[in-house]
Structures are given as structure tokens and as C-alpha cells.
């Protein structure tokens, strides 16, 4: 029984290199976002979630966004947005968490093509643009439903107000996805010794 659990854990978390990169991505997501708190929508959770899905796969697809948000969301709700009602907090958190989980799963869909190549970084950067817009539309809808709708504000007004924030979010994605994408692709290909030697530039060992 114990062995079964161990096997399940190993299959889910991957080898030592994958685990180190997974934890590293969580640290990048949390620290980067905390450091840039005064810059609206400039954050690293998006890039970390996309890379977790596309680079590491396995449980990391969901573990990276969930763990990062488990730290960041309570921090946000207890500082910047302290005092908001439970209904608003739960609702907005649902939209944020499901949005980043979607980003992770979408990253996972493109994972077979991800190699340490310029093409891979370009693919990740390109994909980050529509995914960022989709994420912002999703969370703007949540914000409208739980916070501004009761004030009689229409969804169109919220979407108009969202435009500059989405531009900042796109800026954030276009900076951090290629930046961390290059670093993590390199680390995954060459950075740490894997259990079984992997040839550089080949698809890294995954589930």
C-alpha cells in the first residue's frame, strides 16, 4: 500500500529535476507578484502557470497555480482588499483560481511541442497573448458579477474599464513568458542532472 502511494506521488510529481523546477516556478510566481504589487496586472503567476503546464506537466499543471494562489489570495484579501464580504471574496477567488488553472491546462495542451528552441519560446509568447485576453475577460466577468453588478454597473462598462488593465497584463505576459520560458526551458534541458540522461534539445522526460 505504502509503495502504491509512493508510486502515485512519483508519477505525479516526476523526477528530482521536475520537482525542483516545480517548486522554483511556485517561488517565481509568489515572489514576482509580491514584488510588483503596486503595478496592476504585472504579475508572474500567469507565466508560471503556463510554464508549469507546458514544461513540467503532471500534477505541476495545477499545483503551481494553486499553491501560488494559496499564498497570494489570502495576502491580497487581508491587505489591499481587506474588508470585502465573504461572497465577493469567494466569488472572485473562484474566477481567479479557475482562470489560472485554465492557463496551466492550456499550457499542458501544447507541451509535446515544447523544446529548448527559439521556436518554443516564440510559441509560448504568442500563445500567451490570446490566453491573457481570455483570462482577463473571465475575471472581469467575475468582478462584474460579484462587485459592480449590484451597483447597477453594466458589463460593457466593466469591459471598457478593463482595456488598460488588459494592456498591462499583455505587457506582463510578453515580458515574463519569454523571460522565464527561456530560463526554465534551458534549466529543464541542461540545468539539473536527470535520473536518466536526457539528450539536450530533445523533448524532456514527462509523463
Amino acid at each position: 500500500m505504502r509503495r502504491t502511494w509512493r508510486a502515485v506521488l512519483e508519477a505525479g510529481l516526476g523526477d528530482a529535476r521536475t520537482r525542483i523546477l516545480g517548486v522554483f516556478l511556485i517561488v517565481v510566481a509568489v515572489v514576482g507578484t509580491v514584488l510588483m504589487r503596486s503595478y496592476a496586472n504585472i504579475e508572474t503567476v500567469f507565466a508560471a502557470s503556463l510554464l508549469a503546464g507546458s514544461l513540467l506537466g503532471r500534477w505541476w499543471t495545477i499545483l503551481v497555480p494553486l499553491t501560488a494562489l494559496a499564498v497570494l489570495q489570502p495576502l491580497e484579501w487581508s491587505t489591499t482588499y481587506a474588508g470585502y464580504g465573504l461572497n465577493a471574496m469567494t466569488g472572485i477567488t473562484f474566477f481567479v483560481v479557475s482562470g489560472y488553472a485554465f492557463v496551466g491546462f492550456l499550457g499542458r495542451r501544447i507541451r509535446p511541442r515544447v523544446l529548448f528552441r527559439v521556436k518554443s519560446v516564440a510559441l509560448l509568447a504568442t500563445i500567451s497573448v490570446p490566453v491573457t485576453i481570455a483570462y482577463d475577460l473571465w475575471t472581469a466577468f467575475g468582478e462584474w458579477y460579484f462587485i459592480t453588478r449590484p451597483f447597477g454597473v453594466g458589463i460593457v462598462t466593466i469591459l471598457e474599464a478593463q482595456v488598460p488593465f488588459t494592456l498591462y497584463h499583455l505587457l506582463s505576459s510578453l515580458i515574463f513568458v519569454p523571460l522565464f520560458g527561456s530560463i526554465f526551458l534551458w534549466l529543464h534541458a541542461y540545468g539539473w542532472p536527470a535520473r536518466a540522461p536526457a539528450a539536450p534539445s530533445k523533448s524532456p522526460d514527462r509523463e
Binding site: 496592476a40 482588499y81 470585502y84 464580504g85 519560446v121 509568447a125 494592456l167
Partner: protein
């Protein structure tokens, strides 16, 4: 015959496209930033802060805090009531989270009006003119906008 670029050339092309995209986006965001308010002296502006079961009035003869937020901070300093806010660098602007101990949430939020109109910019970017009336109210959903 398809043109096949070396990895190095691909990297250069990608970097160039990426930098152009980032620069273009950054330029657009800068164009969308609200214009800063030029400091000037305004006369007979009035401030009313309406909380849940309390209110504060403040009306200086003249002030050089000529924004809706500046006037609130001036009243906060003169009448000794706390104001909590978050300042965002981009997009530039303040977000008032609490006045005199009343914190945003549970269906009530701090909103401001100038001469009965809800401006669509942050309070530190809303310039005041002579005789303007600024009202900060701890509004509920029922109050509408």
C-alpha cells in the same frame, strides 16, 4: 523553396519582434495614462464625507490640494480622521479602501462624486475648481451609481 533561418537568426528576429511588441504596448499604456493635475489654488471647495451613521464636513476658504483625493487627505490631516488607500503606479491612481475606520466590503464601498457626478477617473486625477463640492460616500448597492 522555404527560407530556413539558423537558430541564432531566429533568436534575433524573435527578440526584435518581441521588443517592438513590448514597446508598442508600453507606448499605448502611456497614452492611456490620465494627465497629471497641475497644482493650483482653488477657492470655496467643500468636502462631505458620509459614512454609515456619521458624516464629516470640511470647507477651506482656499486650498492648493486641488484634487478630490488631495482635499480628502487635507481634511484627514486637519480633522484627524484616518484614510487608507492603495496607490497604483500603473495605471496611475489611488484606490481608497477606508475612511475614518469604515473599510470597503460587505456591500459598502467608498465612492466619490464631484458636483453630484461620479467621475470615471481616480480621485487623485480629478481636478477641482472654485466652488466644487466633493462628496465621499460609503455607498451600498442600493444607492446605485
Amino acid at each position: 523553396m522555404a527560407l530556413r533561418l539558423s537558430e541564432r537568426r531566429q533568436a534575433i528576429v524573435f527578440a526584435a519582434v518581441l521588443i517592438a511588441a513590448i514597446a508598442g504596448l508600453y507606448g499605448t499604456t502611456q497614452l492611456l495614462q490620465p494627465a497629471p493635475v497641475q497644482a493650483s489654488i482653488v477657492h470655496l471647495v467643500q468636502l462631505e464625507v458620509v459614512g454609515y451613521g456619521w458624516s464629516i464636513q470640511y470647507g477651506p476658504l482656499t486650498t492648493d490640494n486641488n484634487t478630490a483625493f488631495g482635499l480628502l487627505l487635507e481634511a484627514s490631516a486637519k480633522l484627524a480622521f484616518p484614510v487608507a488607500y492603495v496607490w497604483y503606479q500603473i495605471p496611475q491612481g489611488v484606490f481608497v479602501t477606508a475612511i475614518n475606520g469604515s473599510v470597503n466590503g460587505e456591500g459598502r464601498y467608498w465612492l466619490y462624486q464631484v458636483d453630484g457626478v461620479y467621475p470615471n477617473i481616480a480621485a487623485d486625477h480629478r481636478a477641482l475648481h472654485d466652488d466644487d463640492v466633493v462628496r465621499w460616500s460609503f455607498s451600498t448597492a442600493q444607492d446605485g451609481m
